[in-house]
Structures are given as structure tokens and as C-alpha cells.
Amino acid sequence: MGLKDILISLDSALDTKKGRAAKQAKAIDALVAKLVIKEAKYKAKLELPATDRETQKLERKIKVCQAQILKGRAAADELRLETD
């Protein structure tokens, strides 16, 4: 564990502004990772034969997932800038 990691852990433990940002960024990363899996699942389903209604539904779900992932990544990056 490097000095920076130790300092981040200490910041988190003391719940300072930086530590809080680091914890939040980590939480967002975890949620984004789940959304990426979800998106891949929908994309795989889209490859299978389906009715127009089902295809439309899956395409919409993928679109929503992608928007959420983008928002999450942007927010996590911004939070990480605060910790640097």
C-alpha cells in the first residue's frame, strides 16, 4: 500500500471532505460496474430472435443503461479530481 493509499484510507476513516469523496467515487464505481454487466446482458439478448416490441424494449433499456453509466463515470471522475 502506497503512501497515497494510506492517506486516502486515513481521510476516509476521519471522514474528511477528501475521504468522503473517495468513498463516494468507489461506491459509484461499484454501481457502474453492475450497470456495465446489465448492459452487456441486454445486448446479448438483443442478438437473439425477438418480436419488434421486445427489441424496442431492449434497445430502450440499453439506452438508459448507457446514459446511467456515462453519468456515473463522469461523477466518479469529478470526485476523484477532488481527492488528488
Binding site: 468507489k26 454501481l31 456515473g72
Partner: protein
């Protein structure tokens, strides 16, 4: 009437005692300081834990042995089985843990409280503890005046411990001086009569002081200076164990039926344990002597032997009673039946959950779910859909388009009966509680109030929607009937998603609420784009179009309100994850821009 007599009588007896004996005054002052220390200690732990204790409690009580271990550990650390009992009652009342887990904690707390006897007998009487008390008091008081909640809590704990030690010191001094003037051993009573008499005195002393610890300290200090006999001290300790249940009983008075059941379990456990101890007193004394000899406790060290006795008889109680926890739960459920569930009265909001932030949030959350249950029925019936349909796997589009049944639900009347008063109670309760919470908890509570408000608003909007749903949803005009069926389908979808999330359906998560919102918005936009064409083709009249536009707006509000409420109620309890979900979740403008992309 009794209260009016008892308090002046106690004060008069004490005043008389102080007048005739300065030693008695010292002992009484010691007890008072000790009890004051207990109050400080409890306040300190309440402030210091700030929810940590409750979080731990919720996580570690899924098995009986874990619940018992938690009871032992928390009572050992806090030195107050009363505080652990009261927290457990509040947990039960708020619905965070079950009765069996609560009983396990109480069993453990009974064992944990025996560590107090060890501390007093092994450490308190041998060391000049007043030397430790003074610095603790000084450091404690300095910390109490700090702004930080944690430092303040530590200050209360330190000051509490300092006062406990100081109280023990005064009691010890008082009894030592007392010995020179009066010999209490002359009142010693032998045999079973003595056992029952002194057990009754132990019960009375603990009920008055509401602390078995205080009684135990008096017993041990009196025993250490030879003011009572060893056998009578054992009986007093048994009585103190039974008397301590009074705190739980008082705590349960403001709790719901579950809290009362737990207090009942506590009383039954301590009574049975006490009876076992009295019935097998000679065998237990033999066991105490044997254990004491084995671990090297001197034969005449009666104070430590009392600690051994206290531990043994509580351990026997736990061993005897643990296999019957299930039977005890069934008995208590029969003896103290749950009141009939009222849809119009609050189920979880009561005074016993107010003191601890986690239980308070859990109780308010459960009450908002209770409100939602009522709202769910009204909204579903308001759009002529049965809840079974929503909770089934049927395709809503197919089912709702073919079903023309009208469910006669008086939404306005139901709103007044089962929504308005519950919502008012939630607002009133959380408004009063909010003053005591730190910013994080106050924020969570504020969100729950908003969820409640959104649910209420959704019911109000259904009231506006219902008349036209009944009218146009069964119309012979296919075009308008289809449009109103689409409104029903979209509202039914959010109700279904809400239920799936609530039941932890693995196929959905809170992010699906955004997808549902987008789907509803796209449907609404398609209808709005099509309205002019329908009027031009003569499929619907201008009046129908106006109604449809108004009702699309109501359906949008219902979906948005229920989506917001679901996000609050179903979000993660972990603050960081919850905030993450809020950040990632799509706002109205995000949904609008996704919808525009699609239309383009």
C-alpha cells in the same frame, strides 16, 4: 394515589436515616452518585454509538447464538443490561429484528451483566478506585463541553465511569464506618425463609433504583465488610436479577405488542432462573466452591465467590431456557396477541423507537410502506386493476386491454380514511424526531417524508383520473378506449415495478425505474403527437382530446411521484451507495433528452 404516598415516604425515610446516621448518608450518597454515573454512561453510549450499535445489532442477530453473543458483548462493554434491553425493545418495535432474536439478546445481556460483579468484586474493592475516578471525571467533563458529537459521547462515558467508581468508593467507606456502629448480620435469616425474604429485598431494591448493578454493588460492598452473610447475599443477587426486569417492563409500556412480548420474555427468563437458583441453591453453592478452588479463589473471598455464583446461575438459566426459545415465542404470541392490523392507524411509530436513529428511520420507513400499501390498493382500484393482476406474471398490455371491469372504489373517501391521517402521523412524528438527529440521519428522515408526500400526491391524482378512466376505458369508441387503456397500463407498470423492487425480485433494480419512466414518457409523447390526427380523422372529439391531455398529465405525475418514492424507499441503506444511486439515476431532463433522441 400510591405514587403520591410512596415518594414522600421514601424521602422521609431517607431524611430520617441521614439524620440518625452519617454513615447511612454516605452509603446513600454513594448509591446516588453510582446511579447518576449510570445515567451519564447510558447517555454517552447513545451519543457515542450514533447508530453503530444499532447497525451491529441488526446484522448480528440472525441466529440465536449470535444474538446471545451480541447480548453478552454489548452488555459487557456498556455495563448496562437495561440499556441493551431498551435498545432491543425499540428494535423489535420498529420491526428491525424478530422476537426470537430479541429474546436471544436478552439472554446474552443477563450473562453480560454478570461481568459487572466480577469488575466490582475483583477490581473495585481491591484498588483505591477513587484515584481513577477523579481524573476520569475531569477528562470526562472537559470532553462533554466539546462540540464534536463523538468527543461529547466519550466525555459522557468517562464521566459516567468516574461517577460509578466514586459511588462505589462512597458506598464502601459508608459500609466500613457502618460496621463500627451497627452489625446488620444480626438480621440474617437462615434456610429457605431467608432465601425468599432476601430475594424479595433484592427485587425491591432493584425496582426502586432500577439498576441491578447498583444493588449488586451494595451487596458486594456490604458483603466485603461482613455486614451481610454470604447466603443472604446470594439471595439478594437472585432478587436483583428478577428486579432488573422492571426497566424492560417500563421501556415496553410505550412500545408496541412486540416490545411488550420481549419484556414478558425477560421477566419469565429471570423468574425461572431465580427459581432454579433458589431450588438448587446448595448444589450451586457447591459448584461455586469447586470452581473457586479450581481457579484459585480463596475460600473466604466471598465477594469473588458471589461473582462466580452470579455467573453460574445466569449461565444455567441460559442453558435451560435456550432450547425453549421457540416455545417461549409461541407462548408470548398467544398471551400477548398482536392487535388487529389497522389500515388507518400507525403500526410502527411509537415512543420506544424515538431514542435511536437507526430504529427511528426503520420505523418511519416501515410506516411509509404501510401508507404505500393503502395507496397501492386505492391507485390500482382507481385505474380498475386488481392487485393480483399487478403481482402476477400476466402481460399487462394484453390483460388490461381485454378487461373492462369497473372496480367501484371511492377514492376520495378512501383517501380521507386511510391516507390522510397516516401521512399526518408520519409528518408529525418525524418532525418531532428530527430535532435530535445528526445531519445524515435528518437527511434520510427528510427523504422519507418526501416519499410519503409523493405517495399522497399520487393518490390525489388518481382521484382526478378515475372518472374518465371509468368512462372512456369502457367506451365503445375504440380510439379513446385505447388511449385510456395505455394510461392504465403505464400506471399499472410502475405499481408492478414497485412491488418487484419491494420483494427484492432479482430481475429488477432501482435503475429500472428510469427505464420505466422513459417508456411512459415515450408512450405519452406518441399519444400527444397523434391527438391532432385523431381529431382530424374524427376518431375523437375535441372534448375527448382535452380530457385526454389533462389525464396524461395526471398519469405523468402519478408515475413520477411513485418513481421518486420508490427510489427513496428502495435505495441502499449505505449512505455512499445511496448517494451514488441518486447521482447515477436519470433526472427529468436526462429522460427528456433520451426521449427526444428517439423521436428524432
Amino acid at each position: 394515589m400510591i405514587k403520591r404516598i410512596v415518594l414522600p415516604a421514601i424521602l422521609a425515610v431517607l431524611a430520617f436515616g441521614f439524620w440518625i446516621s452519617p454513615d447511612f448518608k454516605e452509603i446513600a450518597a454513594g448509591v446516588a452518585i453510582f446511579l447518576f454515573g449510570m445515567i451519564f454512561l447510558e447517555d454517552g453510549f447513545r451519543a457515542f454509538t450514533g447508530g453503530v450499535l444499532e447497525k451491529l445489532l441488526a446484522k448480528t442477530t440472525n441466529k440465536l447464538w449470535k444474538a446471545i453473543s451480541f447480548g453478552i458483548a454489548s452488555t459487557t462493554v456498556m455495563q448496562s443490561s437495561s440499556l441493551v434491553s431498551v435498545i432491543t425493545i425499540s428494535f423489535l418495535s420498529s420491526g428491525l429484528i424478530g422476537l426470537a432474536a430479541g429474546i436471544g439478546i436478552i439472554f446474552g445481556a443477563n450473562l453480560g451483566t454478570t461481568t459487572g460483579a466480577w469488575l466490582i468484586a475483583g477490581f473495585g474493592l481491591k484498588v483505591k478506585i477513587s484515584a481513577y475516578a477523579m481524573p476520569m471525571l475531569v477528562f470526562g467533563v472537559i470532553l462533554v463541553f466539546q462540540k464534536s458529537r463523538n468527543l461529547k459521547g466519550i466525555g459522557y462515558v468517562l464521566a459516567g465511569l468516574g461517577l460509578l467508581f466514586l459511588g462505589i468508593h462512597y458506598m464502601k467507606e459508608g459500609f466500613e464506618a457502618f460496621r463500627e456502629t451497627i452489625d446488620l448480620t444480626q438480621f440474617a435469616v437462615g434456610g429457605y425463609a431467608g432465601l425468599f425474604l432476601f430475594a424479595a429485598i433484592g427485587i425491591a431494591a432493584t425496582v426502586i433504583m432500577q439498576s441491578s448493578h447498583a444493588t449488586l454493588v451494595i451487596i458486594i460492598t456490604a458483603l466485603s465488610v461482613g455486614q451481610i452473610t454470604y447466603e443472604n447475599a446470594l439471595a439478594l443477587a437472585i432478587g436483583a436479577n428478577v428486579g432488573t426486569t422492571i426497566t424492560a417492563i417500563i421501556g415496553a409500556m410505550s412500545a408496541n405488542h412486540q416490545g411488550k412480548r420481549l419484556a414478558g420474555a425477560h421477566l419469565i427468563f429471570n423468574l425461572i432462573t431465580g427459581l432454579i437458583a433458589i431450588a438448587f441453591i446448595w448444589q450451586i453453592i457447591w459448584a461455586v466452591d469447586w470452581i473457586s478452588a479450581t481457579v484459585g479463589i480463596a475460600n473466604d473471598n466471598y465477594t469473588l465467590k458471589l461473582a462466580v455464583f452470579h455467573t453460574i446461575f445466569n449461565l444455567i438459566g441460559v442453558i435451560v431456557m435456550a432450547p425453549f426459545v421457540g416455545t417461549l415465542v409461541s407462548f408470548l404470541e398467544r398471551a400477548l396477541p398482536a392487535p388487529a392490523v389497522s389500515i388507518v392507524e400507525t403500526q410502527f411509530l411509537n415512543d420506544s423507537v424515538k431514542d435511536f436513529p437507526e430504529t427511528l428511520l426503520s420505523a418511519v420507513r416501515n410506516e411509509v410502506f404501510h401508507l404505500y400499501d393503502n395507496a397501492y390498493r386505492i391507485i390500482a382500484h382507481g385505474i380498475n386493476v386488481h392487485r393480483q393482476t399487478i403481482e402476477s406474471d400476466v402481460i399487462l398490455e394484453d390483460e388490461l386491454k381485454s378487461n373492462k371491469e369497473i372496480i367501484r372504489e371511492n377514492v376520495s373517501q378512501e383517501y380521507t380514511r386511510s391516507i390522510k391521517s397516516l401521512h399526518s402521523a408520519i409528518i408529525d412524528f418525524s418532525g418531532n424526531a428530527n430535532l435530535k438527529l445528526n445531519a445524515d440521519y435528518a437527511g434520510h428522515l427528510y427523504d422519507l417524508r418526501r416519499a410519503s408526500q409523493r405517495i399522497v400526491q399520487a393518490v390525489k391524482d388518481v382521484e382526478h383520473l378515475q372518472k374518465n378512466i371509468d368512462h372512456f376505458g369502457t367506451s365503445k369508441n375504440k380510439a379513446i378506449r385505447n388511449e385510456y387503456n395505455n394510461i392504465r397500463i403505464n400506471v399499472a407498470r410502475i405499481l408492478r415495478l414497485f412491488e418487484q423492487l419491494r420483494n427484492n425480485d432479482p430481475d429488477v433494480d432501482v435503475f429500472d425505474l428510469d427505464d420505466n419512466k422513459l417508456s411512459a414518457k415515450e408512450g405519452r409523447n406518441a399519444t400527444l403527437r397523434n391527438i391532432d390526427t385523431m381529431i382530424r380523422k374524427g376518431q375523437i372529439s375535441a372534448q375527448m382530446a382535452t380530457s385526454l391531455m389533462n389525464d396524461l398529465s395526471y398519469s405523468k405525475s402519478i408515475i413520477n411521484d411513485l418513481t421518486r418514492a420508490a427510489k427513496i424507499l428502495m435505495s441502499e441503506r449505505n449512505t455512499d451507495l445511496m448517494e451514488g444511486q441518486n447521482i447515477i439515476g436519470l433526472e427529468d431532463e436526462d429522460i427528456a433528452s433520451l426521449s427526444e433522441t428517439d423521436a428524432a
